[in-house]
């Protein structure tokens, strides 16, 4: 048998795949491929995701907002009416990382980016000079924070549920800052409610609450009989009917993202 040697045509270009090795090298990756791309192209505009928004200027993050995190004004309340410039700067940075943590949480819908200007100078930025945060630093910190919460107590239920103290006696001594959180656990307030009342970042309150949960002092409130069973889902509106193509595309996207 003779081997037939054919001139092999040039192989088709390789499909782009996410470089996991490179992602490991730089210590981050996979938080939001879209955000990574926007950083690379030094984009300016607003990234809207399911749980919040990031404002980009020249590919760097200058502002973040999320309904899950208290705003800059709330964080400034413990500093009184006339915060020192250092306090303002740190509160701004803290608020940005806090809101970004929730904005970059895994989402079920793709993000959208609106090119254009980030927040106007009459907006929150007017309050103080903002230190732009590189996307890589923000993604790395977000992943570190996820990991930190998981290591403290792996059950995320306390992050959003109303919190309760099953056993009021026998609480171990804890530092003053965490005691302030514990004192506000009343079966109604959530971690976010407590964060707002104390003028603290939401993430920091999640850390305190998970430490309290790990110590067995705080737990998510079980649903009251009135709440359970959950109400039957509303019939889908005509516009929300799931198109099989959309389902397929979503599955494809998820599979590709999992590569």
């Amino acid at each position: 048998m003779t081997t037939v040697r054919t001139t092999t045509p040039a192989p088709p270009p390789r499909l782009p795949v996410r470089d996991k090795a490179a992602a490991l090298d730089r210590g981050w990756g996979g938080v939001s491929p879209m955000l990574t791309r926007l950083a690379a192209e030094r984009a300016t505009g607003i990234l809207v995701r399911e749980r919040g928004t990031l404002h980009l200027a020249d590919g760097q993050v200058v502002h973040a907002e999320s309904p899950s995190a208290p705003g800059l004004d709330t964080l400034l309340t413990p500093h009184g009416g006339d915060p020192a410039p250092g306090a303002l700067e740190l509160c701004h940075l803290t608020a940005l990382y806090d809101a970004a943590y929730f904005t970059l949480a895994p989402s079920s819908t793709p993000g959208r980016f609106r090119y254009g200007s980030a927040v106007g100078l009459d907006g929150p930025l007017a309050l103080g000079a903002v230190r732009p945060v590189p996307v890589a630093a923000l993604e790395r910190e977000t992943l570190r924070r996820r990991d930190l919460l998981h290591r403290i107590w792996p059950d995320p239920t306390t992050d959003e549920a109303p919190l309760t103290r099953p056993d009021r006696v026998g609480a171990p001594p804890c530092p003053a800052r965490r005691r302030a959180v514990l004192a506000r656990v009343d079966g109604v307030r959530t971690a976010l409610d407590i964060a707002r009342e104390l003028g603290r970042p939401a993430f920091h309150t999640l850390v305190d609450v998970r430490r309290l949960a790990a110590a067995g002092v705080v737990s998510p409130r079980p649903p009251t009989p009135a709440e359970a069973p959950p109400p039957p889902p509303q019939p889908l509106l005509e516009t929300e009917v799931v198109d099989p193509h959309i389902t397929l595309l979503k599955r494809l996207r998820d599979a590709l993202e999992a590569l």
Binding site: P85, G86, A87, T94, P175, R177, P201, D208
Partner: protein
């Protein structure tokens, strides 16, 4: 009155033997500002790790029922000193300064005194 960057710069420039400094939030473990350090000494990693040191000490103090405030923590290595100074300003609860010193070039008592001064000037 000083902002973060100015304070960190002043610390690194004025404290003899200082090779790195970080302002750290000990609940999240994030460094809100760093200066100095090197490729082989990542201040961000040091900051996150030393939050555990601060937290362990605070927990022990609670267990012992000590009412005093934690001012600073000194860690000595064979060739370095690490100085942790808790910040006590108005809204500054929950932050500490972390200073790395070259043991051969530094005066520990002086460094501690200077860091205290910088903490007082840092209006956070």
């Amino acid at each position: 009155m000083a902002n973060t960057e100015t304070s960190l710069k002043e610390a690194l420039a004025s404290i003899e033997g200082a090779t790195g400094i970080a302002l750290v939030d000990y609940t999240s473990g994030m460094a809100l500002g760093t200066l100095g350090g090197s490729k082989s000494f990542d201040l961000g990693v040091a900051a996150a790790g030393n939050t555990d040191v601060v937290r362990a000490k605070m927990r022990t103090m609670e267990h012992l029922g000590l009412k005093g405030q934690l001012e600073d923590i000194l860690i000595t290595l064979t060739d370095q000193y690490h100085l942790i100074r808790l910040i006590t300003g108005r809204g500054g609860n929950g932050l500490f300064l972390y200073l790395v010193l070259d043991a051969k070039r530094s005066n520990l008592a002086m460094a501690r005194h200077q860091l205290k001064k910088i903490e007082e000037d840092l209006e956070v």
